[in-house]
Amino acid sequence: MSESASTIQFFTGFSVNDLPFLAQAAGGTLLISIISISIGSILGCLFGWALYASRYARYILGSILDIFRSVPLIIQLLLFFNFFPILGIPLEPFAAGCIVLTVYTSALVAQVARGGIEAVPESMRRASRSLGMSYFQDMRYVVWPIGARAMLPAWTGVALGVLKDSALVSVLGYLELLRASQILITRTQEPFIILAIVGAFYFALSYPIGKITARLEQRWQYD
């Protein structure tokens, strides 16, 4: 008895006290995804509009955005993170992760937004212009409400994808769910339980969003 009490314990098991730590890490995941999804979506809609409206934009901007969709996110993150010290500006992992995820989101959303604009029938837009609406009024009051509904399912797919891909920012050292799981695994040596719990956290973030949008989509279809 006295022997076991005197030995130093290197690994302490997983306990309920670790859950707040995981919740905090989930907050980190949520923060970085919300920032990059919201800014990325706005940028993506603008890019999508440009892709739709101008032929030059389609060639130049389209091929630039294509690069972000054809190179793995982890390579983009490492490249960007290693590029700024070269310029002499060291970058926080959070800032680097935010910037890369934002650009990545905007590249994905641009295609979705372009598809959304194309989904609005040409005749409807001609009708709105004939009624005396300006180009921007037509965009704001006709194309946007219809196009947004058309692009909702694809946009949700992108948003959920980015939420899950934000796990890769752990490589740069930003504390989010996956990084927290690595820290806890190192301490507790219980990878199975911890990965399952972290998986449950991700599931709890991602699953409801997918279900709610599916419901919304169905309701909008029968309007």
């Binding site: 690069i67 054809s70 190179v71 793995p72 996110l73 982890i74 390579i75 983009q76 490492l78 490249l79 290693n82 590029f83 070269i86 310029l87 002499g88 959920l160 899950k164 891909d165 796990a167 890769l168 752990s170 490589v171 996956l178 799981s181 695994i185 219980e190 990878p191 199975f192 339980i193 990965l195 399952a196 972290v198 998986g199 991700y202 599931f203 991602s206 699953y207 997918g210």
Partner: protein
């Protein structure tokens, strides 16, 4: 900017990177093939299976779609160690990608199955085909035609996802790049070249898929 780019180590390592790119492609194609088979099975289980099969397939699909691919790889890599299963890095990547691909493809296939009119099935049965013949010769070829474009997309994703192998010690394109970069301290140069490799790989897959589609779907 007081950083000098050194490209010589990268140029010397190009053959290694090329071989690593082939490994990436191999892992992606294998995981895709396994993913298609399991995905088809899962889709049919969700559509026609009994209660247990439906629950099994649904749990698989939702887990694959709602957790990060990296977490799935870690699960196969480190999580299974709890049961005494130690997979090699290649197997980790293969299992992880196949699990993920199967989940995503199952949903595509399910949509494809639902899009085939019931009359096709009835007509084939009327002509004297058995149920398995109907599926193998009438329904599934049409489903593949419908989901061909999403499948191409998934193939591209598989190539991009295989880059996560780097974090479980698999020496594919990213892993090899990471290894060489840390040997020579030329991180930026190496990762830039790796990015170019991935870009070319993805474009090549898209072109190949386009050419293949013209041969496959002539009717």
């Amino acid at each position: 900017m007081d950083y000098t780019f050194h490209w010589r180590p990268v140029i010397k390592a190009l053959p290694d990177l090329f071989n690593a790119a082939l490994i990436t492609l191999e892992a992606a194609i294998l995981s895709m093939a396994i993913g298609i088979i399991i995905g088809l099975a899962l889709a049919m289980m969700r559509l026609y299976g009994n209660k247990t099969m439906y629950i099994f397939a649904t749990v698989w699909v939702e887990l694959a779609r709602n957790t990060p691919a990296l977490l799935q790889l870690f699960f196969f890599g480190f999580g299974l160690g709890a049961f005494g299963w130690h997979l090699s890095p290649f197997m980790i990547v293969l299992c992880g990608l196949a699990f993920n691909n199967a989940g995503y493809l199952a949903e595509n296939f399910r949509g494809g199955f639902q899009a085939i009119p019931k009359a096709q099935y009835n007509a084939a049965r009327c002509l004297g085909m058995s149920a398995s013949q109907t599926y193998l010769r009438i329904i599934i070829p049409q489903v593949f035609k419908l989901v061909y474009y999403p499948m191409t997309n998934q193939m591209v994703w598989a190539v991009l996802m295989s880059s996560l192998g780097m974090l479980v010690g698999f020496r594919e394109l990213s892993g090899e790049t990471q290894f060489l970069a840390s040997n020579t301290f030329r991180l930026f140069e190496f990762f830039l070249v790796a990015a170019v490799f991935y870009y070319v790989l993805v474009k090549a897959i898209l072109v190949a898929a386009h050419l293949l589609s013209r041969r496959l779907f002539t009717y």
